[in-house]
Symmetry: C2
Subunit: 161 residues, 2 copies
Amino acid sequence: MTAPEVCFEDLPAGRRIALGSVVVDRDEMLAFNRRFDPQPFHVDEQAARDSLFGGLCASGWFTASLWMRCYVDGLLSRAAALGSPGGDEIAWPAPVFPGDRLDAALEIVAARVSASRPNLGLVTLVGTLTRGDDGADPVTVYRGRFTGMFGLRAPGGTASA
Amino acid sequence: MTAPEVCFEDLPAGRRIALGSVVVDRDEMLAFNRRFDPQPFHVDEQAARDSLFGGLCASGWFTASLWMRCYVDGLLSRAAALGSPGGDEIAWPAPVFPGDRLDAALEIVAARVSASRPNLGLVTLVGTLTRGDDGADPVTVYRGRFTGMFGLRAPGGTASA
């Protein structure tokens, strides 16, 4: 097994990483909504038009899952990633619609070695999905603040810029 | 259109609601993991056995989505539900495995009428998924604290027990 390219030491506070972009597929969105979040504004065209959202929109869990895939492809697949215990912010500040092109990113806001497990790094990161809106100001449609657990390249090491 | 059965007034702080249970389907879990969270411990049997988790386990987003479906079936489908702007806690304190039977619940921890929109109620709720573990103490595998937006039956009303 080869050593992962990205370890805790490579993820210092302040680092910002672009995670590519994703286009929201209408059929996949609807299938997800029907299975996991069948509220009228997520599954019924007419009810959605009559709702505050103005049209069929993504379940927030579909949106979060799209970000997660970008995070895996853009970072975790090359990293000594050990999962996540959770986070302290999840926000869907604007609805997501079929065909939306969303840019994924993350920013490291804190990084420390576990006190009890010196070979484990705890990284606090903020992940976002942003819609460009064709020349208008970008709109953040998803924001999540989580702890990621990462292995250290060298036990006792510290993250550095 | 008939009036929803459950409005803001029916969701006072302190109310606890059982949302039924769900069994984790291995094939569906794997399909979700492969699409949205293809980390080795979520998609590769051998890598999962060698990981901290000890076996293939659910993406946290699959677990959260399973809870969401229980929330829709157990409450939102009968409610004047208007979506959610997000929350301030999401936690996966223990891994979820295929075949797990999980009990879903929610507890209302706060409820208030929007200051700017008197026909909108803001409900803070904690949702959980708990595994019974066959006689052992129940294990919480998911916990999320969110704001839910609900319509009022009577504008200016207040939630009451």
